[in-house]
């Protein structure tokens, strides 16, 4: 009984996914870019990455034809001052979901080739360790309250 209870969540995790992009054990979902003022030289993207495999996965690089470069950032508040720290990569443990969300981890997209309006689609290419990469389409969305 107790063994079944312990195994059950793992089975649910393994079977229940219909990811937007997938390399068997890696899935990227809810990828969106926040619509920004047309003059903004930087945009932010948010997403969820799930590692349903049994090994750690490492996100090492992201690029896109629509931006000059993309960095992994986290907004942090230290002594009432807000800043962003850059991360060279993100490691995600087995059976773990990692979220990039407003006010926290985000992809910082530099120099958009065009402003982009809500509803537009933009391709981002995610590069993981061990030469795993795939392209995911991001939708530009307006920020709602607190997003």
């Amino acid at each position: 009984m107790s063994i079944i209870l312990r195994i059950l969540p793992v089975l649910v995790l393994l079977s229940g996914f219909h990811p937007a992009a997938s390399a068997d054990h890696i899935s990227i979902s809810n990828l969106w870019i926040s619509e920004a003022p047309p003059v903004a030289r930087v945009h932010a993207a948010y997403l969820t990455i799930t590692n349903s495999g049994s090994d750690e996965i490492v996100l090492q690089q992201i690029d896109s034809p629509a931006y000059s470069r993309i960095e992994i950032h986290r907004s942090i508040i230290v002594n009432h001052r807000m800043t962003m720290e850059a991360h060279s990569q993100i490691s995600i443990f087995p059976d773990t979901t990692f979220r990039f969300s407003p006010g926290d981890y985000h992809l910082m997209l530099f120099d958009p080739i065009k402003p982009g309006r809500a509803g537009d689609k933009i391709n981002l290419i995610f590069h993981f360790k061990d030469d795993i990469q795939f392209s995911v389409s991001a939708t530009i969305r307006k920020r709602e309250n607190m997003q």
Binding site: S34, A36, P37, P38, V39, A40, R41, V42, H43, A44, S68, R69, H73, S75, I77, V78, H80, R81, M82, T83, M84, P102, G103, H106, M108, L109, F110, R143, E144, N145, M146, Q147
Partner: protein
């Protein structure tokens, strides 16, 4: 002898009772004024009284202390190359202002975005940036020196981080929203994260309280 000591004891008791009553009356008087709302970041009874400053607004006009007078001003300090916290806060400002407009309470309210990166944020850049959120929003810039006439008084610390090889740099800055009353006093410093509902509720309480103080 005994009579004398009785009178003396009585005198002491009466004095003590009178003194005690006096304390009672005194403390009752202390309690009479309406208490400031229990809001985190409320500076009352010691608001920060602003001195004159000189910045440049999005229309390249000088913006100084007198431009804060007669209005309730919400200020946020950031920069247009900040993709996460700044637009999040300005989107909240947009919501706050829109709700106040719907309630017909926005006439004496102004929302102000102050650039702590005025070298990159030109007046035109600020104009387009704030207008994206609301046409009535104000964007303040000018030289770093000008900006500091305001930030120093408000205790806004910010720093420009080292530039990347591409020449980009980040700016660390306050994540708080500052509420200045129509007398030019900083009444409340609201810490992040912010929601429109919370800001409106606190604003209503503060406004009611300050009008009681001056009436």
């Amino acid at each position: 002898m005994t009579g004398n000591s009785t009178i003396r004891t009585l005198t002491i008791i009466i004095t003590l009772v009178a003194f005690g009553a006096g304390i009672g009356v005194f403390s009752a008087r202390q309690k009479q004024p309406v208490l400031a709302p229990q809001i985190q970041g409320m500076l009352w009874p010691n608001p920060k009284i602003l001195q004159d400053f000189s910045t440049t607004d999005q229309n390249e006009q000088e913006f100084k202390l007198s431009d804060l007078r007669g209005k309730w001003s919400f200020l946020f300090f950031g920069y247009t190359n900040c993709p996460d916290i700044c637009p999040i806060t300005l989107a909240v400002f947009k919501d706050v202002y829109q709700k106040l407009q719907e309630q017909k309470r926005s006439n004496d309210v102004q929302m102000i975005f102050v650039s702590v990166d005025p070298e990159r944020d030109s007046s035109q850049q600020l104009k387009d940036y704030v207008a994206y959120f609301n046409n009535n929003f104000i964007g303040l810039g000018g030289s770093l020196e000008q900006i500091s006439t305001l930030t120093k008084q408000m205790g806004i610390a910010y720093y420009h981080e080292e530039a990347s090889p591409e020449g980009d740099y980040l700016v660390g800055h306050s994540a708080s929203v500052f509420l200045v009353d129509p007398e030019g006093r900083v009444i409340t410093i609201m810490s992040a994260p912010h929601t429109a509902e919370e800001i409106i509720e606190q604003f209503s309480e503060i406004r009611a309280f300050i009008s009681q103080q001056t009436s």
